[in-house]
């Protein structure tokens, strides 16, 4: 029992890193623009399908596909921003308007994937020679170890960007006061588009890594990852990028430890229980300020 629990904890931390990456993307977008990206999971799913397609066409390892995913999704972020967000920011209730627009985008994306790749679950042959790594008496899935390690590096780079560069400091500043940023000579639209690009880049990376961690992808998986993103950002604190990382760990651990004691089909229940508990106890999230 003890070894199962330890494996669940390690697995939970690795999954937490992926969840953290997804949540950090959503939190940057929300924090900077007050835009609720309800299509966050669908963008991740799109990245996973692109990795799948590249693998089918050119036998590309998903980690190599990320070289295409990163600029593609960063650019997609700019495109989506300039197409929709400035109009949303001018509306009377940007949060609600964005919720509707991105819900629409989520439907378009999942339908598009359904049309192109069909409803059957898709997967790729595992790209590495070994499926798991054993350390002493413990066995850890290699895909998840690689995905978790990769996420860890990306998160570290993101933290460096946010805390050590002018651009990152401007992103943290615009989350706190949008108008004050503009009077300092910073182009808020360009900064927001950049932030949207970062948000989609992170979720695109997560999409590429998910295909390594889980056996199959389906056109309906997007909404469950949007739920993951919501839970993670609400746990950690809406609009606080580092909070999402913390939320990711909590959710990853809860899901994996929960799976030791409960059937895996109950994992969505864990998500909702965490969500509701946090809203009741501390609605602003762990790192959020009331």
């Amino acid at each position: 029992m003890e070894s199962i629990l330890i494996q669940a904890i390690v697995s939970g931390i690795l999954l937490g890193l992926i969840y953290g990456l997804i949540g950090m993307g959503m939190n940057i977008i929300y924090g900077v623009m007050r835009v609720v990206n309800f299509a966050h999971g669908e963008f991740m799913m799109l990245a996973a399908y692109i990795c799948y397609w590249l693998n089918r066409q050119y036998a590309t390892n998903p980690l190599h596909s990320l070289i295409i995913i990163v600029p593609l999704f960063f650019g997609l972020g700019f495109l989506v921003y300039y197409l929709f967000v400035p109009r949303l920011l001018n509306s009377e209730d940007p949060e609600m308007a964005s919720f509707l627009v991105f819900f629409g985008i989520s439907l378009v994306l999942s339908s598009l994937i359904l049309i192109i790749w069909g409803a059957d679950p898709r997967g790729i042959p595992f790209p590495f020679k070994r499926v798991s790594v054993s350390i002493g008496e413990f066995f850890f899935p290699l895909g998840r170890l690689i995905a978790g390690g990769f996420c860890g590096i990306v998160i570290l780079l993101l933290i460096l960007l946010l805390f050590k560069t002018y651009l990152g400091k401007a992103i943290r500043a615009i989350i706190q006061n949008r108008e004050a940023v503009s009077i300092l000579g910073i182009d808020t639209h360009l900064l927001s588009a950049f932030s949207f690009g970062i948000g989609l880049l992170l979720v695109g990376l997560a999409g590429g890594l998910v295909i390594l961690s889980f056996p199959a992808i389906t056109p309906m998986m997007g909404s469950s990852y949007t739920l993951v993103a919501f839970v993670v950002v609400i746990l950690g604190g809406l609009g606080t990028p580092l909070g999402a990382l913390l939320g990711g760990f909590i959710f990853g651990l809860a899901e994996n430890i929960g799976a030791v004691f409960m059937p895996t089909s109950l994992s969505p229940v864990i998500a909702f229980v965490l969500l509701i508990t946090m809203i009741l106890i501390r609605p602003q999230g762990i790192l959020g300020e009331g």
Binding site: Y166, Q176, G185
Partner: protein, 243 residues
Amino acid sequence: MSILSAKNIVVSYYGDISVLRDVSMEAKEGEITIIIGPNGAGKSTLLKTLYGLLRPKKGSIIYEGKDITGLKVHEFMKLGLAYVPQSRTVFPDLTVMENLELGSWILRHDKKKVNEALDYVFSFFPILDEKKNDKAKTLSGGQQKMLEVGRALLTKPKVLLLDEPTATLAPMLAKEIYSFLVRLRDEKTTIVLVDQNVRQAFEIANYIYVLELGENSTQGSKKEFEGKLKEVIKDWLNYDESH
């Protein structure tokens, strides 16, 4: 010589109700121009319009002889203007240093210039140097105002627009801010100041504009206003009581 002026501007927030009607003003280089008037006169609106945060429906904003009406807000600092609004604009969860670094955004590619600018601001407000690693939210109200003003000064603007810099400050701190503004003027910075603290603002002013109900009321040099100020304030009080 006029460096910044508004010519016959009309500004509305919503629909057809104009907050400013045919307002004109000009700030002369190296002088302190103050804009005073009762509540709701449109003083802050005028300042926001001068800095591009609001777009006039009619009229124009002229800076150094060029029409800058309709320019985007983030372009104003590059031109040599800076603005400190009345509302709190420090980034509370960023350190004092990070706040200042963002004030030097347009200089960010030149590390030497940024350091010079920081030294320049620390020479005015040594307390910011002492507290540079503290989060801005831990500063007192007066120190936060110093941070806002200091942040606006990093680019050594030719024109500084200030909206009620001493509101909510203790009298001692307010006095410090006014003497700082005089020092800044001595260094040839043009200042446009909106203030409710009429008497103290008047003390340091070169030229005075009075706005009432969104229109130009009276204007004149400090000399022309000597002795008239009491009467002007009395008029506002009568106005406030009768409305």
